[in-house]
């Protein structure tokens, strides 16, 4: 699959100088990090008591309130 993709790049985009030079190998842990970043985004923008206790969630909601509105996520 990966090799096929590379073959396609070299044949089709032959105009670009060195295709292999631009490839960055992404380690497996990077995807765990990406998942964590998505979770962090959920936490600051949407967490309203699904994971935290009600008082803690309300505190978080009030502290992140202005940014939640500004980011355009449904707030209340």
């Amino acid at each position: 699959m990966e090799r096929k993709g590379h073959f396609a790049m070299t044949t089709v985009a032959s105009a670009s100088a060195v295709p292999s030079d631009t490839a960055v190998s992404v380690p497996v842990w990077a995807w765990a990090l990406l998942a964590f970043a998505v979770f962090a985004l959920y936490f600051v923008s949407q967490e309203n008591g699904a994971l935290l206790s009600a008082p803690a969630a309300q505190m978080l909601h009030e502290l992140t309130h202005d940014a939640r509105h500004a980011l355009g996520v449904p707030c209340h």
């Binding site: 790049m9 490839a23 990077a30 449904p74």
Partner: protein
């Protein structure tokens, strides 16, 4: 000479932090003044015992506030930086994964292209379907449904950003020329976005009668300005930081084979 993922990730975190700071400045300059106007309406409601607002719209400004306004403004700025860093991390992982496929001149051009796609897919598209609202707007009883719709539109935006380039690569493999592919890509984006906007139901809320229309408009514009600032700053900062690696490696190896 390949580029290590760690060096890309570090630049993503730094660029994300700068983007979050830029967005925080925009919140402070353009969003907060509109929020203050909206909070006046919430205060009026609690003074009139909530009679000006339909049931369920009772302001959360009533009674002793849990967090002071100052803490909310500072908290908003901190949140903006946290969001910037998280987006920067995601941006770096995606950039590293698709770098060789992104169009654009050098890493700066690629970074700007990816930032533009990111803004369109996860910020602009959801904002068009479920627009942002100032305080004093938003029925708490429908927040679950609005959040679900917002998430669906965001995921569909990401899906379009994945599907169209994949289609483009398939067509390229079959030898379809670039000009034809671009025309098909644009047509596919227009059709798919139109389908998302037409088929996904909108917000079930009505804007309460005591909230002026220009306040809502100003807020939505300010919110989009803030989001655009974040993505623009991210694309610029990440692109410039990536270009510096390229410049340094050229300087280190002036007679590279």
């Amino acid at each position: 000479m390949g580029l290590s993922f760690g060096s890309v990730l570090r630049r993503g975190v730094l660029a994300g932090m700068l983007a979050g700071l830029a967005a925080a400045v925009m919140i402070w300059l353009v969003v907060e003044p509109v929020i203050r106007r909206a909070l006046v309406i919430e205060d009026l409601r609690s003074m009139h015992g909530g009679q000006a607002a339909p049931p369920g719209f009772a302001a959360h400004g009533g009674g002793e506030p849990l967090v002071s306004r100052t803490a909310q403004v500072v908290g908003g700025a901190v949140t903006s930086v946290v969001v910037g860093i998280a987006v920067g991390v995601i941006f770096a992982v995606v950039f590293a994964r698709v770098r060789e496929r992104l169009p654009g001149r050098g890493d700066f051009g690629r970074s700007m292209v990816l930032a533009a796609i990111g803004f369109a897919a996860v910020s602009l598209l959801p904002a068009l379907k479920i627009p942002s609202n100032p305080p004093a707007v938003g029925d708490p009883s429908t927040v679950g449904r609005r959040t679900m719709l917002y998430a669906v539109v965001l995921l569909l935006g990401v899906a379009v950003a994945v599907v169209v380039p994949t289609m483009d690569r398939r067509l390229a493999l079959r030898g379809v020329v670039a000009s034809t592919r671009w025309a098909l890509d644009v047509a596919a984006v227009v059709v798919l976005l139109a389908l998302v906007l037409l088929l996904v139901p909108g917000s079930p809320d009505q804007v309460p009668a005591d909230v002026p229309a220009d306040l809502v408009w100003d807020f939505r514009l300010a919110s989009l300005a803030q989001l655009a600032t974040m993505w623009l700053a991210l694309g610029l900062a990440f692109g410039l930081l990536m270009e510096r690696i390229a410049a340094r490696s050229r300087a280190l190896r002036p007679v590279a084979s």
